[in-house]
Amino acid sequence: MKLLRKARAGTLESGDVFITAEPADRLEISLESPVKEQYGEVILQTVHEILREFDITSGRIDLTDRGALNCTLEARLTTVLRRASQEEKT
């Protein structure tokens, strides 16, 4: 699967994560999280797992975490990657 356009999913509310995904030449991931020191690696591991599920090897993914559970993170990633890989509706 390939990212075709910029898309977003999630919110900045507590317990959620706001994610944007857009096409890029290589894979770039940025993470902002209040628990980055403790859980940053686990969060990034989940990001890579979902990217592998979608077979995405390039693109820019920006995550602003507000204390999301892992299942919320997975859901928001699934949504944003599917949205970004669909042609823009006209």
């Binding site: 999913a9 999630g10 509310e13 507590s14 317990g15 959620d16 999301a68 559970l69 892992n70 299942c71 919320t72 997975e74 859901a75 928001r76 699934t78 949504t79 599917r82 949205r83």
Partner: protein, 299 residues
Amino acid sequence: MRRSLLFIPGNRPNMIQNSEVLPADAIIFDLEDSVPAGEKDAARDLVARALRFLDFGPRERMVRINDLGSVEAKADLRAMVAAGVQTILLPKVGGAGTVKEADSLLSRAEREEGRQEGSTGLVALLETALGIEHALDAALASPRMTGLALGGEDLSADLGCPRTREGWEIFYSRSRLVMAAKATGIDALDTPFTDVHDAEGCEQEARFVKDLGFTGKLCISPSHLKAIHRAFTPSREEILYAREVAEAMEEGQRSGQGAVSLRGRMIDLPVLRQAQRILALAGAAGLLRDEEADHEPGR
């Protein structure tokens, strides 16, 4: 047991997460009215992951999907079956056709997702005049049907009536729904009480509809759960009387009597059936053990 069925918006992760500890009998994750049109896909993804990975304990896991006429409904059903939903709350049911269509889509999804065919239950939300008039047909349309629920707000709009606190505008609809549910042996579930700051009003309404024959109530606020449970759970006095009735009837049957006298009143089989219903409810609510313990000598 479905005394309280609490709606949780499907696009709110913090509310979904908190519902793990709320004392509702059933949680209804909503993909329909509480989710904006542009967020339907996100809510579906969120609820599906929550169903797979969160632990809701003994609470029944229900999902209100989008109405079958929408583009979202088929994807909702497929994703929720894959995630292991127990019961689908089907909105805007106009009669048997809607239920049969949902039944068929569920069967296909269950086969494709490796779930046991027929394992997903259905509750029909009746919220139009047409739906109310076809309540019995809807209840009979599928063996998956476990309840009929009333959507009072949409119904009032369909009837062109203001929705009042007294509820006379939906009195006939409530009665009609109860008849159809009782005739088919499934749950009768009342519309939510919409004033989230008035738990007392919610309890009054819950007691009123319980006396009409409803078995539970939809709910939009956790602050209403205790009030609903108080209304739909038998009181200590009711449990004690039900026990007396059961014992008196048992004694009467042993001595060949169909009707016996208790507290100065004649009681017979219909009274026994009421007593058995109350004891079954009390048992499901875990009250019989407490009540027995209270009667142990020395307590």
